[in-house]
């Protein structure tokens, strides 16, 4: 692994199927230890870009790189560094969990004691150790997701690409999956995760990319994107009395706009997302002898950002 080199890179990738432009000039990078959330409506081009990165498809133009190796020209080197969990994955009949993982460990050339260790680690990490000998046919959806994640990480890859990993999981399993993903990132792995559950992505991703109709509309950290799309916060101040006075006091201040008064509650927009300045704003209100009962700021959720950016158009 080369320091300072992004672990995942898409460089101006184009991919079309007939007249449908599935991916159009998409570029982004993910560093080691980062979780990148890939968001977009159905048919936006997420899975196509992920399949290109996973060496399952070829771009019409551009290149995808994993740890500096081209997915187009060096797929064998890429595969050794990559764990891919597809949205729709299959399992073999007549096999139990340990046989399934053992087969894939062998497929990655892990032999002898190393394979034993890899199996132990994976089973423990995914919580499958209690049902290691259970037939795959009898597994629940959540357990199958865990098994597939285990398969993707059996060879300890530096990069993990997870396509809708939380799809169909119950709330508890989702929380556990989120913890697993954060744990993998803490180990220094680069993760690319697509999901429809945006609140969860917002919590675990260092950065996100929003794609629609094959085009990457925006990418960056969640905070950066929120700031870029709406460079102010909504502030709510509840006083013991003197709502009108506060609104008059605020009216002359810079960065303040849209003041609304409702008895003792004052709402306004403050053109700043810096938490330090938000604290200073509270200090200034109290210093001006207003009796503050409640002070809260409302930041926008990832859902709001997603809805604002995307049009919902499908192709």
């Amino acid at each position: 692994m080369v320091a300072s080199q992004p672990m995942i890179q898409l460089r101006r990738v184009f991919r079309s199927f007939g007249s449908t432009q599935a991916v159009h000039d998409v570029s982004f990078e993910v560093e080691a230890g980062q979780v990148f959330g890939y968001i977009g409506p159905n048919g936006a081009g997420k899975t196509t870009s992920m399949r290109i990165l996973a060496t399952l498809d070829l771009p019409d133009y551009g290149d995808a790189l994993i740890d500096g190796f081209s997915c187009v020209n060096d797929p064998d080197r890429v595969r050794r560094r990559l764990g891919f969990m597809p949205d729709n994955f299959g399992t073999y009949a007549n096999m139990n969990c340990i046989e399934y993982l053992d087969f894939f460990a062998r497929s990655y050339g892990i032999l002898g004691r190393d394979r034993t260790r890899a199996l132990r680690r994976t089973l423990a990490y995914t919580g499958l150790d209690k049902i290691a000998e259970k037939s795959i046919r009898g597994l629940s959806k959540g357990m199958r997701q865990r098994l597939c994640l285990g398969r993707a990480m059996i060879h300890d890859p530096a990069v993990l690409i997870l396509d809708e990993p939380a799809n169909g999981l119950d709330p508890r399993a989702r929380i556990e999956l989120r913890q697993m993903i954060c744990g993998l990132a803490a180990e220094g792995k680069a993760l690319l995760v697509s999901s429809h559950i945006l609140s969860e992505l917002g919590e675990m991703c260092d950065s996100i990319g929003i794609i629609e109709r094959g085009k990457l509309i925006v990418s960056g950290t969640v905070a950066e994107i929120k700031t870029k799309l709406r460079p102010h916060i909504d502030v709510l101040v509840q006083l013991t009395d003197g709502g009108e006075q506060l609104s008059h006091w605020l009216a002359g201040k810079p960065k303040v706009a849209n003041i609304q008064v409702s008895e003792r509650v004052v709402r306004f927009q403050f053109a700043c997302t810096d938490p330090q300045l938000q604290a200073e704003l509270l200090r200034a209100i109290i210093s001006a002898n207003f009796s503050v009962l409640e002070y809260s700021t409302e930041s926008r959720s990832l859902e709001d950002v997603f809805l604002q950016i995307t049009t919902g158009a499908v192709q």
């Binding site: 080369v2 996973a54 060496t55 399952l56 070829l58 019409d60 740890d67 500096g68 190796f69 081209s70 187009v72 020209n73 060096d74 797929p75 064998d76 080197r77 595969r79 050794r80 990559l82 891919f84 597809p86 729709n88 994955f89 299959g90 399992t91 073999y92 009949a93 007549n94 096999m95 340990i98 046989e99 087969f103 894939f104 062998r106 497929s107 990655y108 050339g109 032999l111 002898g112 034993t116 199996l119 132990r120 089973l123 150790d129 209690k130 290691a132 000998e133 398969r151 060879h155």
Partner: protein, 532 residues
């Protein structure tokens, strides 16, 4: 973690053979382990294996009870063995090839194929692993029938060499059918194609089994109780050609399922050349054995058909030498001139096929010049092998060349280019054969007519005229065919210059860096006279 699982992972072998067994288990292709594990657990195997055993035991009891008391003083091995071959043929020549086909199609149907593709396993390992698993099943069925087959030898009437030869051929045919089944399974990627392929394969397998069993019963056992050296020689020839075809089928199956940027053309073309070399060798052996140049005519005609089919598929290639393939291009100019034809691309494939067939024709020509006089004097007739070879070469160069030029008009990204190439060739052949026939028929007021230069592109009629020694009408046709073939070949060769001029590209920096990291670092040189 369950106890069984812990036990399995902690157990360390103590004895030497156990360690050897473990080592072999570690290094065997993982696909073989998976496939054997799955197939031995499957109901299909349990039922078919059980039925085979029951049928063998049942046939033994029925046949022996029917032959009592003759069995005590008359040879009774042949009818019993014929029955065992019938029992063995069902799993070997139908079930195992069909299961191999279904095993590949099920991988894509169950969405497990993608998981295999992104593992470190190569496409070749996947295909060869499945083939090896089929061979394990063949061995299991053989071992189940082995005691019964030994019994037939003890009952007399059939020689050990006959049993071994026919058994060997059954196994070889089973392997060949399995390889073809896997090729079909690899090519048929859509649901509709899979259904069509399954029907075609099943029909073919039953037909093959019927043909083989009728051969065994009518000729193999009845009229060939003790095969001589000529039978073994013919068997060796056919077996080597069949083995080469199996090798091509397996490599082609691997190519069909592999990542597109991989260079599969070179290994495939090497195998095709090896097959042609084998056929050439056995043709020479056969000519020398039977002392007839007619063998050469037959072999040239037979070989030209698969060459036309393979060449047609090659003209459907996308014609791109990927940067990955460019890394292994020949370094020198001479190397490029002789070896570039092994690299991917429709034009290069066309030249490769025409060149290979030309080499085959040239070999036959040398043989004809050397032996024709002697053989014709001995048998009292002349051979037209050289002329047949020359005409077939011209046709191959012309039709494949035209197909390649037409395929250049089809966009490179167009999927199913190979299917398109086959359709285009079929249309070319139909048009060039039927159009002159109808035109001349119309011009002759719908009366019968003889061969003339208008039928120059009619392969079958022209070759028949050559074989009939009707040299009077052939002159003009030969000139037309030769000029057209040279023209089309020259144009295609000219269009190939871009591919031939491509030079080897170096490894990307990241790959070079990794390769360097793999090499051991040299120990630092320490000066003994200087303190560290």
């Amino acid at each position: 973690m369950s106890d069984g699982f812990q036990h399995r992972m902690i157990d360390e072998p103590q004895r030497g053979w156990e360690r050897l067994w473990l080592w072999a288990g570690e290094h065997v292709n993982p696909i073989v382990i998976k496939e054997v594990r799955q197939s031995l657990k499957s109901k299909q195997f349990t039922i078919s294996f059980g039925l085979t055993l029951v049928a063998a035991v049942g046939w033994t009891l029925v046949a022996i009870s029917m032959m009592v008391p003759r069995i005590f003083y008359m040879p009774a091995g042949v009818p019993l063995l014929a029955g065992y071959f019938c029992i063995l043929a069902a799993p070997l020549m139908v079930i195992i090839p069909l299961v191999a086909f279904l095993s590949l199609t099920a991988e894509s149907e169950d969405s497990t194929f993608e998981l295999l593709s992104i593992s470190a396993l190569s496409a070749r390992q996947i295909v060869y692993g499945k083939m090896a698993s089929a061979c394990v099943q063949i061995l299991l069925y053989l071992s189940a029938l082995a005691p019964s087959i030994v019994l037939t030898y003890l009952l007399r009437g059939v020689g050990l060499s006959s049993i071994l030869l026919l058994l060997g051929w059954t196994v070889l045919l089973s392997i060949a059918e399995t390889a073809l089944g896997m090729l079909l399974g690899a090519i048929a990627r859509t649901r509709m194609l899979q259904v069509i392929a399954a029907v075609v394969l099943l029909g073919g397998l039953f037909w093959g089994m019927g043909m083989w069993l009728s051969f065994i019963i009518n000729f193999g056992l009845a009229s060939m109780p003790v095969p001589g050296w000529s039978e073994f020689l013919i068997s060796a020839g056919l077996a080597s050609v069949l083995a080469a075809i199996v090798s091509i089928a397996l490599r082609a199956a691997a190519a069909a399922i592999d990542f597109p940027s991989e260079n599969h053309s070179t290994p495939l073309r090497r195998r095709i050349l090896a097959l042609l070399g084998l056929i050439c060798f056995w043709t020479i052996v056969m000519i020398l054995m039977v002392q007839e140049m007619v063998v050469a005519q037959v072999m040239l005609s037979l070989v030209s058909i698969p060459m036309l089919v393979i060449g047609t598929l090659m003209t459907g290639e996308r014609g791109i030498i990927s940067p990955r393939a460019q890394r292994s291009l020949p370094k020198t100019f001479v190397g490029r001139v002789f070896l570039t034809w092994f690299y991917p691309g429709a034009g290069l494939g066309y030249v490769f096929i025409v060149g290979s067939f030309a080499a085959f024709v040239a070999t036959i020509a040398v043989l004809e010049i050397t032996f024709a006089g002697e053989f014709s004097n001995r048998n009292g007739r002349n051979s037209n092998a050289l002329l047949v070879g020359y005409v077939l070469l011209c046709y191959l160069a012309f039709y494949l060349g035209i197909n390649r030029l037409l395929m250049m008009l089809v966009p490179r990204q167009q999927p199913s280019r190979m299917v398109g190439a086959v359709a285009m060739m079929a249309a070319n052949l139909l048009l060039s054969h039927l159009a002159p026939l109808f035109l001349v028929y119309y011009a002759n007021d719908y009366r019968e007519f003889d061969y003339d230069w208008h039928q120059a592109f009619n392969i079958i009629w022209t070759v028949r005229e050559i074989l009939d020694n009707n040299s009077v009408d052939l002159g003009a046709s030969m000139v037309i065919i030769t000029l057209c073939a040279i023209g089309v070949f020259g144009l295609n060769l000219l269009l190939c210059t871009r591919d031939v001029m491509l030079i080897r590209v170096g490894l990307p920096p990241r790959v070079r860096e990794e390769e360097l990291a793999k090499q051991p670092t040299p120990a630092p040189i320490i000066d003994p006279f200087v303190d560290a």
